[in-house]
């Protein structure tokens, strides 16, 4: 008797899962993790990725703060769990219609998928560093971004990085906390990334002097502050509190940086062989299109806004549409993964409530 009831309960609990499709927009860490979780629950999951590969920014990164875990190993862990998830690469959402509590989604490859719930996890884009023209990205030969540096760590290929740089500088907050760049918010992850990269670059070029130009150092997470101390003590990275005002190039194509050391109250001028710009996060380029198609609310910067900022962050303003990851604002990787799991649960609860 007891086992029958239990079996019956399990059967009932699972039918709603098998009969419902879930669409996930974005194949980055949070999109992947949510697909894995929902797939495990028994839902039919369709993952849509506009790029030609899965993994988002994680796939392009080398190592992760604070413990320098390889990005590749994390991504492999996530990907192991999505076996059986149907995914489309180089695909975007073309249109969406709501038919009696079910969304009908047409993709750019012509496929039409009916779905009970949709998870928007389209992530973020890097702030285009060339917009801060005073830093000379794209104009001077030896200016790169944090993403370029990660790529160099991974591949060792970048003409802009000279053989034996004597001095290397990092500029924090490029396109974040910058009203003139249109972004007043903090991008959250660049401080820790810069400190991590400064250490790594010092490992690569032990003889080089490394400078970090910062406004504040926001080392808020577990192990971050320790990383910052390690950078100073063990790696001898020099932290200068002050924004870089302008960058010029001398005849030898070296970079002449002007900044103010606000702690000593003096102007600083340094000649560098490499300048790394810590480009912040901005809303994903397709978020406006998605917001438009689905009539989703966004904030003044184009990030999606959840129902509230604490308890219902995963719920969008539209019934059956959910958010996860950096599409609602700058997030660290662990946060994005947690949100993906939270969103998977929220979707499960929502679909259960429809039965």
């Amino acid at each position: 008797m007891k086992t029958d009831l239990y079996k019956n309960y399990i059967k009932n609990a699972n039918t709603h899962r098998m009969n419902n499709n879930v669409i996930i927009i974005g194949g980055g860490p949070s999109g992947l993790e949510a697909s894995a979780q929902l797939h495990k629950m028994g839902y039919k999951v369709f993952l849509i990725e506009k790029d030609s590969q899965l993994g988002g920014h994680l796939a392009k990164w080398d190592r992760l703060f604070p413990d320098s875990i390889e990005a590749k190993s994390i991504l492999e862990n996530i990907l192991e769990n999505i076996n059986g998830v149907k995914y489309f690469l180089n695909t975007e959402v073309e249109s969406i219609t709501l038919l009696d509590k079910e969304y009908n989604v047409i993709l750019s490859n012509g496929t039409t998928i009916p779905a009970t719930a949709i998870l928007v996890a389209c992530g973020f884009d890097l702030f285009p560093a060339e917009k801060k023209e005073e830093y000379g990205y794209g104009i001077y030969d030896h200016v790169i971004t944090n993403a370029d540096l990660e790529n160099w760590f991974k591949t060792g290929l970048d003409d802009r990085i000279v053989k034996n740089p004597k001095r290397i500088g990092f500029v924090h907050c490029v396109g974040s906390r910058d009203e003139k760049a249109g972004n007043r918010y903090c991008s959250k992850v660049c401080c820790a990334t810069a400190v991590k990269q400064a250490c790594e670059v010092k490992e690569a070029f032990p003889d080089a002097e490394v400078f970090c130009f910062y406004m504040d150092l926001r080392m808020f997470g577990k192990g971050y502050e320790e990383l910052y101390l390690k950078a100073q003590k063990d790696y001898g990275v020099r932290f200068i509190r002050g924004r870089v005002s302008e960058v010029a190039e001398n005849i030898d194509k070296q970079l002449v940086i002007k900044a103010e050391d606000t702690l000593s109250g003096k102007p600083v001028k340094v000649t560098l062989d490499l300048l790394v710009l810590m480009a912040g996060m901005k809303n994903c380029v397709s978020s406006a299109k998605i917001a438009n198609l689905f009539s989703l609310k966004t904030d003044e910067y184009g990030f999606f806004t959840g129902k509230d900022s604490i308890y219902k962050l995963q719920y969008s303003n539209k019934e059956g549409i959910f958010h996860a990851g950096a599409c609602t604002g700058p997030k660290t990787l662990p946060e994005s993964l947690h949100e993906a799991r939270a969103a998977a649960l929220a979707i499960d609860n929502y679909i259960k409530s429809l039965e």
Partner: protein, 612 residues
């Protein structure tokens, strides 16, 4: 024509007389006051200017063109121009012809101030004469012109869009009194002369009014009341005049004299400034010109309201508006009276900011970057004086692409140049001036001037129009040619020193405020662009160009409002879908660059990309 009323007097002239005596006394005192509080040097300047034939000619031309015919408004809006000109010129002609009539027919009444106005009441023509008919015709003709203008003015109050104005000013109480009086004066004159026409005779208008009205109202009983009403309304108008916007009628000629003498305001309520603020006719043309006014909430910061609060000595409000203004000069370019409200706002800022402390003693240690870039190996070392001094300016240092392009142009044409602020320079002083800190600005200007003089260069090339304006206006560098790089490049093309490829690309040119309205440079950049591609038109061009929103003129405008202006400006630029937006100011470049979907480049970049 003969005098009909013995003694040439009737009590109904009294209200008018009270008004006219009041206004004349008021104006006389005001004039003496303005002249007295004017700085001594300005007074001398005014006196001297009144002796120079060239300036006298310009004064007469401007007074006729601006005050009476309103040619400036005609040029941009013919109907609105007609409205203003018909009232001003028509009224002026009525007064002139009235006096001629008195002088011709009743010379014994010459000099009686009310006589020409109420002439038809006192004088009658018993038997028609050709001379009399001519005057009847002329007076009726000009009365009709004025009436047509009044009709349009009423229409403008009800529907400003009918006269091509999106917005119109809110009149204050004195404005309303004067306005309604002004509206009433001429219809009442028509009625008074109409009712009297049977006795005095009349022209096509008054005579036919008479025939029409006589049938309904009779004649005799209405004659005197109408003249009384006419006189009362005139008197009231003159009493309200000093407190209303119509004060611009008597003030404008004085302002023209001061302006043409080359006097600039140094204080928002002294000397020329006083004449300037009373010359504002509150017409509201600046409301539509102001780039901030795409948002309704900003209308209160328009120049017209700034001047109104300045008149009322409302320091809090004037300071608020003065600090908010972008100083783009669009309202100044559009103003039919040429009130330079930006200069007034600047002097208003000075009343506060000039008191702030500053210390530029460190300037003494600054030396110019002396390394001469000799691109031409054969250049003689003796010909130092022909060097070009390149002054990029601090904004250009934030847009290194411009500097890179300029150095590549210098190298291409083998120019021998000194890069003055390669290693950082001194601010040109314009931001300080815009903020009203004229005293502090003098110090940096003096130092920069010394550096330029010591360099021995005879030509300065500037990349930033903000520097350009202050170099031209305040630096006093006789014998040194000051060029913006648009002009310099244009010269290179004209001299055949720079050969460019004409590409398939299309460009639209954005006139930066400080280069266009500020320095009057409109054609050179367009010539340059035509040499490298197709030049497309923008919706608002040249002196109507909309500020990019990044102007450092405003001290308090917030980022959201600036973004709105940037969008508006970009929209006006891209109506013809150009491939690229070209500008000639590093500040515009940066501001547009952040917002624009169409690529934005500086003219130097566009040229450097297309060198043969």
């Amino acid at each position: 024509m003969e005098e009909r009323i013995a003694g040439g007097y009737d009590p109904f002239v009294l209200p008018f007389m009270i008004g006219i005596v009041f206004i004349l006394t008021y104006l006389l005192i005001a004039l003496i006051r303005i002249i007295c509080i004017m700085p001594k040097s300005d007074r001398k300047r005014l006196g001297l200017s009144l002796l120079k034939p060239k300036i006298i000619y310009k004064n007469i031309k401007d007074i006729f063109g601006d005050c009476l015919l309103h040619l400036k408004i005609f040029k941009c809006n013919p109907l609105l121009g007609y409205m203003h000109a018909s009232i001003a010129f028509g009224w002026f002609m009525l007064i002139v012809i009235g006096h001629i009539e008195v002088a011709l027919f009743t010379p014994q009444r010459n000099g009686i101030i009310y006589y020409p106005l109420f002439y038809r009441y006192f004088v009658a023509e018993q038997t028609p004469t050709p001379k009399g008919s001519l005057f009847f015709f002329l007076m009726d003709f000009f009365l009709l012109i004025v009436l047509s203008g009044i009709g349009l003015a009423m229409l403008k109050r009800i529907r400003s869009s009918a006269l091509g104005m999106k917005r119109t000013t809110k009149p204050c109480v004195a404005d309303r009194i004067a306005l309604y009086c002004l509206w009433a004066i001429f219809p009442l004159r028509l009625l008074a002369e109409g009712f009297t026409a049977e006795i005095s005779g009349g022209g096509f208008l008054t005579k036919s009014t008479n025939t029409l009205l006589a049938n309904f109202f009779g004649n005799d009983i209405n004659v005197l009341p109408m003249w009384w009403a006419y006189s009362i309304v005139l008197g009231l108008f003159f009493l309200a005049l000093p407190f209303s916007r119509y004060m611009h009628i008597p003030t404008e000629p004085l302002y023209i004299l001061l302006r043409n003498a080359g006097i600039k305001p140094s204080h928002p309520r002294k000397g020329i400034a006083e004449a300037e603020i009373y010359s504002c006719s509150s017409c509201g043309i600046c409301l539509d010109a102001c780039p901030m006014n795409t948002q309704k909430k900003n209308i209160k910061y328009s120049s017209v309201y700034f001047i109104r609060f300045l008149r009322k000595n409302n320091t809090q409000k004037t300071n608020e508006i003065a600090d908010k203004c972008l100083m783009c000069g669009k309202c100044v370019a559009a103003c039919p009276v040429s009130v330079d409200s930006c200069a007034l706002k600047q002097s208003q800022r000075s009343t506060i900011t000039n008191k702030l402390p500053y210390n530029y003693s460190f300037l003494n240690d600054v030396t110019i970057h002396s390394e001469t870039h000799i691109s031409d190996i054969n250049a003689q070392s003796g010909s130092d004086n022909n060097n070009v001094l390149y002054f990029a300016g601090c904004m250009t240092h934030l847009t290194p692409a411009i500097i890179k392009s300029m150095t590549s142009i210098f190298e291409t044409v083998k120019e021998k140049y000194v890069f003055a602020d390669k290693d950082g320079g001194i601010c040109c002083g314009r931001p300080l001036i815009l903020a009203g800190r004229t005293d502090a600005a003098k110090e940096v200007i003096e130092k920069n001037r010394e550096l330029v003089r010591n360099s021995g260069c005879k030509t300065i090339v500037l990349s930033c129009p903000i520097c350009m304006k202050v170099f031209k206006e305040e630096y006093n560098l006789q014998g040194v040619t000051i060029l913006h790089h648009t002009q310099y490049i244009n010269n290179l093309i004209l001299q055949g020193r720079l050969k460019l490829n004409k590409s398939e690309e299309s460009f639209v040119y954005h006139d930066p405020c400080e280069l266009g309205r500020g320095c009057n440079i409109y054609n050179e950049p367009r010539n340059v662009i035509s040499a490298i591609g197709e030049l497309k038109k923008a919706d608002k061009e040249k002196d109507k160009s909309i500020c990019c929103g990044g102007s450092l003129g405003s001290l308090t405008l917030d980022y959201a409002d600036r973004t709105q202006i940037t969008r508006e400006s970009l929209q006006a630029l891209t109506i013809e879908n150009p491939d690229k937006i070209v500008t000639a100011c590093p500040l515009c470049l940066k501001t547009f660059g952040d917002q624009s979907d169409t690529p934005v480049i500086d003219i130097a970049q566009a040229v450097a990309d297309n060198i043969k």
